[in-house]
Symmetry: C2
Subunit: 393 residues, 2 copies
């Protein structure tokens, strides 16, 4: 007898997490994961905050808590949106989640019926494809340009498929690193309003801009229809699993019901610890330090590709975030390159898992946040060695 649900039988185990097993060996230089640089974790600040929280209100910090999340933390998040973009947001428009990954899952739970037409980016964030596919929607992938989602294709898709929801990473996208321009954001917002479509704006990397000027979130151009997801994983630490959804109260109310059913609430202890870190330290100084390091690491990777590949692969040059995206010569399989690269102790993620239909065989994602400049050069050199062996065979 088969005990399993249809939804789980239709979902693959994450290929990326399997790759990470390989990439985790100590001798391997890994450009595979999406790991922040652990040298930048605010360890002393967190240690101090743990003690402070327990010394101040241990019973409150260790007892069951409200589903929506710790109020001072929600206020801090709302205040930052107000300060950065003048957005009219308050603590009650925020729900704390277990990373922004849980935000995607809860949105699926609250908004998707089986067969609902959903636009995703092509290529798009694999974790979102997984989370949403649990609710069995119909995916309509739309291609990306250097300026963001392809608006002509998006318009055609909206016309043909009466799209209910769009999932997108407009800033330093995973996997490509590209960023939606302000005009693409404004036009997208207009489309949302005209066609009454929900937009999930997943923004884990937005704060990691190291070049160019900041662009306001799509949400700021269409407050009603956008559910904006944020995360402390990339700017403080990932292991706390703290993210949030920012959306209109009517949506937050239903998301709270779904969160309650899913796990009652996120760890209130780590919510208080992170809040204490934010109260006691200047977040912007910390983020500036991350930006500076990531800029150097991105430059190291772009330069190493230039030096070792003689123009034989093309890559994006992101202005922030953690990834760049490379195109191999036509017909070359990035999966074959992966096998060859692992033998030389370097790892990356082949592009095809980011495509929910076909395609992407000659593409790959390279992460630069989790290796230092010297390791980046060595790793890209190894990758080039594997590349030319494969090419010459």
């Amino acid at each position: 007898m088969n005990f399993f649900s249809e939804r789980i039988l239709n979902t693959r185990r994450s290929f990326i997490r399997d790759i990470l097993e390989v990439a985790g060996k100590p001798e391997v230089i890994s450009f595979a994961g999406g790991l922040p640089n652990p040298d930048l974790f605010p360890v002393a600040e967190i240690a101090e905050a743990c003690q402070k929280v327990l010394a101040t209100d241990s019973k409150g910090a260790l007892q069951y808590a409200k589903t929506q999340g710790y109020h001072p933390l929600r206020s801090w998040i709302a205040g930052r949106y107000k300060q950065q973009y003048g957005m009219d947001v308050e603590a009650d428009d925020i729900l704390i989640t277990n990373g922004s990954q849980q935000g995607i899952d809860l949105i699926g739970k609250v908004f998707l019926n089986e067969g609902d037409p959903v636009v995703v980016e092509k290529p798009g964030y694999l974790g979102a494809l997984q989370a949403l596919s649990m609710y069995q929607p119909e995916f309509h992938p739309v291609a990306l340009t250097e300026e963001g989602i392809n608006l002509d294709e998006l318009k055609r898709t909206i016309k043909n498929a009466s799209i209910k929801l769009i999932y997108s990473v407009p800033s330093f996208q995973n996997p490509t690193g590209i960023t939606y321009s302000e005009s693409v954001r404004r036009e997208t917002a207009e489309l949302l309003r005209e066609n009454n479509i929900l937009f999930v704006e997943d923004n884990p990397y937005g704060e990691l801009r190291f070049m160019g000027s900041d662009i306001a979130p799509v949400k700021s151009f269409c407050m009603d229809n956008v559910l904006l997801l944020g995360s402390f994983s990339k700017v403080v630490v990932p292991s706390f699993r703290l993210g949030w959804v920012c959306a209109r109260k009517e949506f937050i109310e239903k998301l709270i019901v779904a969160k309650q059913a899913s796990d009652l609430h996120s760890s209130s202890f780590v919510q208080r610890v992170i809040n204490q870190v934010l109260v006691d330290h200047n977040m912007d100084d910390h983020i500036d330090a991350i930006r500076e390091v990531y800029k150097k690491q991105r430059d190291a990777m772009v330069n190493a590709i230039k030096a070792h590949f003689n123009g034989d692969i093309k890559c994006t040059k992101p202005e922030g975030g953690m990834f760049l995206w490379a195109d191999l010569p036509d017909g070359m399989s990035s999966m074959k390159l992966f096998d060859a690269a692992v033998k030389k102790d370097v790892a990356f993620v082949p592009g095809f898992p980011f495509y929910c239909d076909d395609g992407g065989e000659s593409t790959m994602r390279l992460n630069y946040s989790n290796a230092d400049e010297a390791a980046i050069d060595t790793g890209i050199k190894r990758l080039a060695d594997a590349f030319y062996e494969l090419k010459d065979n």
Copy 2:
């Protein structure tokens, strides 16, 4: 336009959490929540463990981690099952979840298709009804006796409805406090095997036995079909949101896929902190201390009911856990009693939300873990005052 999914439109916001808002006022003596006694939280041990974890391996403790959970913690859990009940369980049979609440959600995700027939207890744990209802099964409530689930009714239900899954809290059940006897457990296990039915054994309170002798989990009588849920919320602290599913590897594998899609992994920082507490301290001593206090509080409540109610209400006398269950005289509404009680600054949970069909109007749940003996006597006195005013009108 309605944006919401059918599943969320069919789910009520938890009535209990709304009650907790009322019960949270400082002047109210609350028997409403399911809160552990915060005086027993191991605050110093947790503070010490936080420092130790950060001093030992800060990068490991703060980085992304594996979906299944921290291996030493999973080994500890498996070892305890082996030691307590001789169960053949290892670390890989365990998945760490955000409290056992998330275990229920993930089981729904992995095993339930819309319309699947599911047995729940009547009355049953509200949070499970909520979590499972997201997957739109068909609920078949089966009544409880003092010895556990009503086996005749269960057999009839299995015959008539080809049940796929049973959800149950066999030890110190929420809301009634009753415990399945060993013979009911064995007979249930036999039914599972004969009919190839899954059994979710939710066991957050099992360690809190303060009278009588321990009874092995249903899982120990039918390893294959039972998914056993456990939790650190009642024996260490709730705010860490750490629980687990123990099941055969084939099930764990699919639950990992669902967990990955839901939130990547549970906070690895708090997993390491709790593991450090378990390594450095004797868990059994700590649990003994909790048992001793809860026994006194239960006795205080049973005695106060005897003293103030003159036999006009009946209640269960649980051998462990955190709740007792009371029957009001026929026809008296516990919802009306709740309104009257709140005016006298005492709160409890009326019984009807624990029934997924009708019934339970004259029942109520009383929690004794979160008030000291003096407050319990005062609170029950206030409740009796409200009761007799209502009865005499």
